[in-house]
Amino acid sequence: MGKTIAEKILSDHSRIDAHAGDIVIADLDFMIGQDGTSGVAIDSFRKMSAKKVFDPKKIAIIIDHSSPSPNEGVSAIHKKIREFSKEQGILLYDIGCGVCHQLTPEQGHVVPGDLVIGADSHTCTYGAINVFSTGIGSTDLAAGMISGKLWFKVPETIKAVFVGKLPKGVYSKDLILNFIGKIGADGATYMALEIEGSTIDDLSVDARFTISNMAIECGAKAGLMKADKKVMEWVKGHSKRAPKPVEADKDAQYKKMVEIDVAKLEPQIAKPHTVDNVCSVSEVAGTPIQQGFIGTCTNGRLEDFQIAAKILKGEKVDPNCRLIIAPSSKDILLAMIKDGTYQTLLDAGAVAVTPGCGPCVGTHNGVPSDGENVISTANRNFKGRMGNPNAFIYLGSPATVAASVIEGKIADPRKYL
């Protein structure tokens, strides 16, 4: 019987002929933690009476969620992480390096065919470069750090095929928001997604990361794509490791196959307070906005800021509105400075914060006030997500956020392009 990408990678790493439903214990190629989850992982590591990690080169901790530290409680967690990293000789990306899900592929730690875990739910991001990567909790990370292995239930797979050319002003963010709106917040729970089609082929690797990043928002364990020529070139430019690309067999068994034509797709918005509460921008256009945010592991890459800068060039952020930007890594920040994107955004009135998660998770860098509306390029709009349960978060593409902050209300970006 043919196999899906998930079945192949998990078979390969467990040396078992595994199919959906099987439980396997598999070797891990890389694993990450961040400052929100690694403190608990370090505690679990100690409670398991472990002395040494299995391989310090295959473990990275990234301080990105509350970075630099906003209070003494977080400072104590950061100190614990720094001391543990030094003691164990593992990789540490300290404040200002960037978001874990940008750094892990950008710094060349993962390549096609890998099996990767991360104590962060958006670890599924690297599916865009053909990596089976999935979010786990802190105790699983501790077990992985000690043994280099973890148990997995081999997931069933939903195949999503996207066809048609994305219209002007419509981006990969709109595509994935639309998909989540259709399938629902638990539409792919316990399952993997295989995402392909001519629309995906046309996208840059950066734009593909946006899609795989949000696989978890419909419950998926992984959001896998093929390693095409673009991926192979991208990986070659970022990593010295040898890729082992994996393709699904022609006769692979899928739980479900869906085909979606995006040729007529409009810019999409996820309304408060769930990611699957999706509509076209026209439905909510005019809603007053007090804060815009461009950044995160979903949409904080160079081309995201270039798109925003194109719209904001010569424009000003509405005086009743703020715009916060957080590049996803220091390399991205430097590239933005070099090509003038940074200057354009600052001239328009953007406020830049440290490369990292920025205000996405509500620990610092721009907590909205009661009753305020935020439009953000992040992946979640849960109640309280940005630090205030009485605020309202709308999600959209960088273009939609840029257009909205010019008007101080939710706006269709297409008129600016």
Partner: protein, 161 residues
């Protein structure tokens, strides 16, 4: 285990269970103080030791933060019953030893305030208020071993001892 049912809806996410703004500590007692705060700010004052949380679909969706099941356990909740659980929460709950039970019927029919009794070994849920009984989905054998050991730490310790 026996206690009162507290009903929550569908898609109870980890930000509702424990907002990130409180993740400046790993102290379970401190985390419990803010458990479910953004879903119902008064719940932590009302809930009693041994009570049950009854959720709908996709309970625990969102972040990978293990603080979520830790906070629920430290709040004195004896088990979470739901129609379905999000994958990472499901795994984290098992790893830290918070009992979870998947039963669509129980999640639908149990009402807030009902007296509930659960037998974990058999997965039987009894609503003592209505007299109805429900059978939760059994766990795969491998997971049951982790649950029996009180979580992954206990399981690995027992294995290496």
């Amino acid at each position: 285990m026996r206690g009162k049912a507290w009903k929550f809806g569908n898609n109870i996410d980890t930000d509702l269970i424990i907002p990130a703004r409180y993740l400046n500590t790993h102290d379970p007692v401190e985390l419990a103080r803010h458990c479910m705060e953004d879903a119902d700010p008064n719940w932590i004052k009302k809930t009693g030791k041994g009570d049950f949380i009854v959720g709908g679909d996709n309970f625990g969706c969102g972040s990978s933060r293990e603080h979520a099941p830790i906070a629920i356990k430290a709040a004195g909740v004896s088990a979470v019953i739901a129609r379905s659980f999000a994958r990472i929460f499901y795994r984290n709950a098992i790893n830290i030893g918070l009992p979870i039970l998947e039963s669509a019927k129980a999640a639908e029919e149990i009402k807030e305030g009902d007296q509930i009794e659960v037998e974990l070994a058999s997965g039987t849920i009894r609503d003592l208020t209505t007299g109805k009984s429900y059978q939760a989905q059994p766990f795969p054998e491998f997971m049951q071993k982790i649950i029996d050991a009180g979580g992954l730490i206990g399981y690995l310790k027992a294995k290496t001892a």
